[in-house]
Each structure stands twice: as C-alpha cells, then as structure tokens.
C-alpha cells in the first residue's frame, strides 16, 4: 500500500511509507546538526541577558524581544563600519582574483605549450599552503611594502589563496567553449587578443559570474587570520574581528553578539537564497569532470 508519489513518478523512485519516514527522519537529523547553532544563536539574540545567565537552562525565550538588535548598534558604535569593511575587503579581493584568473584560466583552457601543465599543478599546490604557515614572511613582506594596518594587508594575501580554486573552476568552464569559435575568428583574421576579448569573454560570462560569486563568498567567510595578525586598526577591522568588541571586560554580551552575527550574515544568506542555483551549478561544474 501507500505508494507515495503520484503515477508520474518512475517506479524506481517510489518509496514505501516507512522508507519515506526514514528519509525524512534522516534529513531532519542531518539538518538539525547543521542548523542548530543558528537556531540556538537566534534564540539567544532574543533573550534578555538576565535570562541567558540564569540556570536552569531554558531553550525557549521568555519575554523574548528584538531589543538586542537595537542596542547592539549602541554598544559597539563601529559595527556598521565592520560590515562595510568586510564587504570592501571581499569585493576588492574578488576583483583582483578575477583580473588575474580570467586570462590565466583561458590560457590553461585553450593553449597547451610545454611547461603549462607544471604551472597549473603549481597553482593547485598553492591552495594547500594556508596563510597560517606563511604568516611570518608574509608579515615581514607586508611591513616592507608598508601595507601593515591597511585594508591591503587583508586583501593582498587573502586574494592569493583564492586564486587556485578560481582558476580550476573557470578553466573547466572555458574548456567547454567550442574550439571552432577560435578557429573561425582566426580565419576572419582576428588577433588572439581580439578573439579573447570579443568572442570568448562574452560567452564565458555566466562562468565568470559563478567564479566571482564563489570567490566573494570565500573571501567574505575566511577573513580571520590575516585580519587578526596584519591589522590592529579598529577602523579597518572586518566583521569577524569586529565581533570581538562584544567581549567585554567582565562578560560577553551574548545576546548582542548573536544579534550582530545575524545582521552580519544576513547579506550572505540573502545572496545564497537568490544565487543558490548558480552555486550548486558552479560547484558541480568544477567538481565533476566527465
């Protein structure tokens, strides 16, 4: 009994009622693991501090209110600046990465001269050295270049570590553009540069957008170690470091910290909601080679 879907569903995709229950139960447990910090964080942002620091623990807020979402701006006046900084740093890093990666990915996708395989391998190897390992010379490099305690101290090293994934993704995308286009352009007497600019770039636009989104998200979510080490100026701090401002001398203002976290991640969440089709597409394009 109890075929779950209507008759259009292929037989192979039909489940018995207990299979459906098992699948939903499994998905529930899986998503609960992934989302519980956000649920808890949201509830914390609604609770007054007195309830937070009281025992026994109560999951649900009593007299919950959005008060923390208003007081957070007064406790840490620079908070809007931190969000702005995060966006600025991620945007500039994304622009640098795109300027470097778009030509490089095209070269890797279209030409195969001796030595290029090695260079591609070297680029991929870059992604395995995290910034943490190279921190000491990077610190000195930033000091020599006079970039310490500026936005660039967080942008320049951050961008370098976003390049490998971006190259890989865009190269895969560009390899799908038919070679005949290049040949046709060549026959018409177009120069290499003209072909790249006027033929390839417009066609590769969707792929470039995916790479831009992925790079921006990577840059936005990984601002920590360089900001922690290379910048000590409050006015340049990105969101993750700025949140430490809610750690008072005596105690952490947890409800405001959580409220601020949600305000800080809202842009990212809105972005995923609208771009999730690109995201899944982008991930799979780079991931699964056929």
């Amino acid at each position: 009994m109890a075929r779950f879907r209507n008759d259009d569903t292929p037989m192979i995709d039909r489940y018995r009622w207990w299979e459906v229950i098992a699948i939903y139960a499994g998905i529930f447990v899986f998503l609960f693991f992934l989302l519980s910090p956000f649920i808890e964080g949201f509830l914390v942002s609604l609770k007054p501090l007195s309830q937070l620091f009281s025992t026994p623990y109560s999951f649900w807020p009593e007299n919950g209110s959005f008060a923390a979402y208003f007081t957070m701006w007064e406790s840490v006046p620079g908070f809007a600046r931190y969000i702005f900084n995060s966006f600025l740093i991620s945007s500039l890093a994304t622009i640098i990465v795109l300027l470097l990666v778009v030509p490089a990915a095209y070269a890797f996708a279209r030409f195969s001269f001796r030595g290029m395989g090695l260079v591609l391998g070297a680029f991929l190897a870059v992604s395995m050295f995290s910034g943490a390992v190279l921190l000491i010379p990077l610190f000195r490099l930033m000091r020599v270049l006079g970039l310490l305690n500026t936005y660039w101290a967080m942008i320049v090293p951050g961008a370098a570590f976003l390049i490998p994934a971006a190259i890989w993704l865009l190269r895969t995308y560009m390899m799908r553009i038919p070679r005949e286009l290049n040949e046709a352009a060549y026959m018409d007497g177009a120069s290499q540069f003209y072909t790249f600019r006027r033929v390839i770039l417009p066609i590769a636009r969707p792929g470039i957008i995916v790479v831009a989104i992925m790079t921006f998200i990577g840059a936005y979510s990984q601002q920590f170690i360089f900001a922690l080490t290379f910048n000590s100026k409050t006015e340049y701090m990105p969101l993750p470091i700025g949140l430490y401002a809610y750690f008072g001398k005596q105690e952490v203002i947890w409800n405001e910290l959580m409220a601020a976290s949600f305000v800080g991640i809202a842009p990212a969440l809105i972005l995923i909601f609208f771009l999730q089709r690109y995201l899944v597409g982008g991930l799979t394009a780079g991931a699964v080679k056929q």
């Binding site: 390992v133 290499q192 993750p240 991931a287």
Partner: protein, 294 residues
C-alpha cells in the same frame, strides 16, 4: 589552432600576472620560511644564522605529542566529514518533496563567515548556559553542567565537531554532484534484476563514486590539517595545550612569542607534511584519470 610563436607569447602573457602574483605572495614567503628557520630572527634587529639549532630545539617530546595530536585530530575530522557528507548526499538525493529546499538548508555553515559559526558553537559548548549542556541536563543524561571547552578530552572532540560542521556542506554537495553524474540506466538495469536499494548503493553508487571519495578525502585532509580559526577562537589551543595542533603551535611561537626563527622551523615541518599529502594527491588523481581512460 596553429601554434605559432605569437600564440606562445599570448598564452604566457595571459598567465604572467597570475604567476607573478603567486610568486610574490606565496612562493617567496615559502622560501623565506625555509631561510628564517636557520636563523634566530626575532624582534631584534640582528639576525644570525644558527644552523640546525632551531630544529634541534623543537624536536622534543612536546613537539612530537603535538604532531601526533594533529594527526589524530585531522584523521577523525576527515573521517566524520566523509561519513556524514555521504549520508547527507544519499538523503538529499532521494526523490522526496522538498529536497531542493533541504539542499539549500545544508549550505549556511559553509557560506556564513567561519568566525561567526564558531562563536555560536562557543556558546553552545558553554557549560552553565549553553544548549548542549542544558539539554543534556534537562533530559537527565548528566548530573551537573558540562563545560565542554574546559577539559582536554571534551575540548578536543568539541573542536573536531565544529570543524566537521563547517566541512560537511561542501563534502555533501560535492558527493551529491558525483552521485547525480552516475548514469541512471545502471540503476534501472539493477532494479529490473531485483537488486535492493542497499545492493544498488553498495554495488553501483559506492564503486562509481570512489574517485570522488578519494579526491574529496585528500582535499579535505589538506584543508583540515591547516585548520586554524576553529581552535583559535574556541580554545586557543587550551586547556593546557590539549587542543594545540601544529598550526596553532606555530602561531603561538611565531606570532605570540615573536620567535620568528623557531616558528619558521615549525612551519617548515608543516610544509613537509603538506608536500607529502600534495604529492600523494597528485599521484592518486593521475592514477584515477588513467583508470578513466582505460
């Protein structure tokens, strides 16, 4: 395409900016790390070459414990990411209503700034007021508050769980993509022959996904080995060094104590391990490609 001289120049001109950038920001610091590891560089102006002294100094019992701990931490984190990611991919691949929504809902831990997710876990692990301890007490599973980050062993596992939490979405989506690339007619043929769901998973899904599983475990291994933010925000390597991995240890010595030379020596040891992983990765992917072609 005609591979003329101008095409050669054009190709390398396209590559040059990216190569130059990575040379300055990654390759040069890498070489500089090796050089510094043979010096006594610190905040002082004078820098002397000290030969192998930094290496002699760091290879003691404490450092070997840190190495072992790093490997155990990494091993369990990667293992859990793979297992949970695979379960997630199987569940999200099931043809049930709502699966598109469920797929979106897996992404937040990966997409949200890492530090924010980690702050939230920090609160969850809080002994007196956090959710985990609170719910465990409510259900009578523990007697008093459990401060997960205050004890070595629980802090060790707590940091692993948070690392897994951040890594799972990426693994799940990657596995899901690999799963969907498996030709449908294989399943239909097996289904016609009366193979059960489990048999189809064991005999078709798992074998055909093994390249994806191997690739992802290697990438995950490298990323996890480099994990810094999670431990730094949750415990800073404590309590009493029980969550100090090699990265945290290097950071403490190099940036915390400003012993650049000694810190560089520790970083070099990390680089050696990473190079071995990377070598293994290239070798494995090459072999997998060979299998594909055959």
């Amino acid at each position: 395409m005609t591979s003329s001289r101008s095409a050669w120049i054009f190709a390398w001109a396209l590559l040059a900016p990216a190569i130059l950038y990575v040379l300055i920001i990654v390759a040069w610091p890498l070489i500089e790390t090796f050089r510094l590891s043979f010096t006594d560089a610190s905040l002082r102006k004078v820098v002397n070459y000290v030969g192998w002294r930094n290496y002699e100094k760091i290879f003691n019992e404490t450092f070997l414990t840190v190495i072992t701990r790093t490997f155990i931490w990494t091993f369990f984190s990667v293992l859990l990411k793979m297992v949970i990611g695979m379960c997630g991919a199987v569940l999200l691949n099931a043809a049930v209503p709502g699966r598109n929504l469920f797929r979106i809902l897996t992404m937040p831990p990966w997409i949200v700034p890492m530090a924010i997710g980690i702050f939230m876990w920090g609160w969850m692990y809080n002994g007196q007021f956090g959710m985990i301890s609170g719910l465990l007490q409510r259900f009578g599973l523990v007697d008093g508050p459990v401060a997960f980050l205050a004890y070595g062993r629980s802090a060790f596992w707590a940091t692993i769980v948070t690392d897994v939490w951040i890594g799972v979405p990426m693994v799940t989506i990657y596995f899901l993509a690999a799963m969907q690339a498996i030709p449908k007619d294989l399943y239909e043929a097996a289904w016609t022959d009366g193979a059960s769901r489990w048999t189809r998973f064991r005999r078709i899904t798992l074998p055909l996904m093994s390249p994806a599983i191997i690739t992802m475990s290697m990438l995950s291994l490298i990323a996890t080995f480099n994990s810094f933010d999670i431990i730094w925000i949750l415990t800073q390597g404590g309590p009493s060094g029980q969550t100090t991995t090699m990265i945290i240890d290097t950071y403490q010595v190099a940036i915390g104590s400003k012993k650049y030379g000694e810190g560089a020596a520790r970083a070099v040891v990390i680089c050696i391990f990473l190079s071995l992983f990377c070598l293994a990765y290239f070798r494995v992917t090459r072999r997998l490609q060979g299998v594909d072609k055959a």
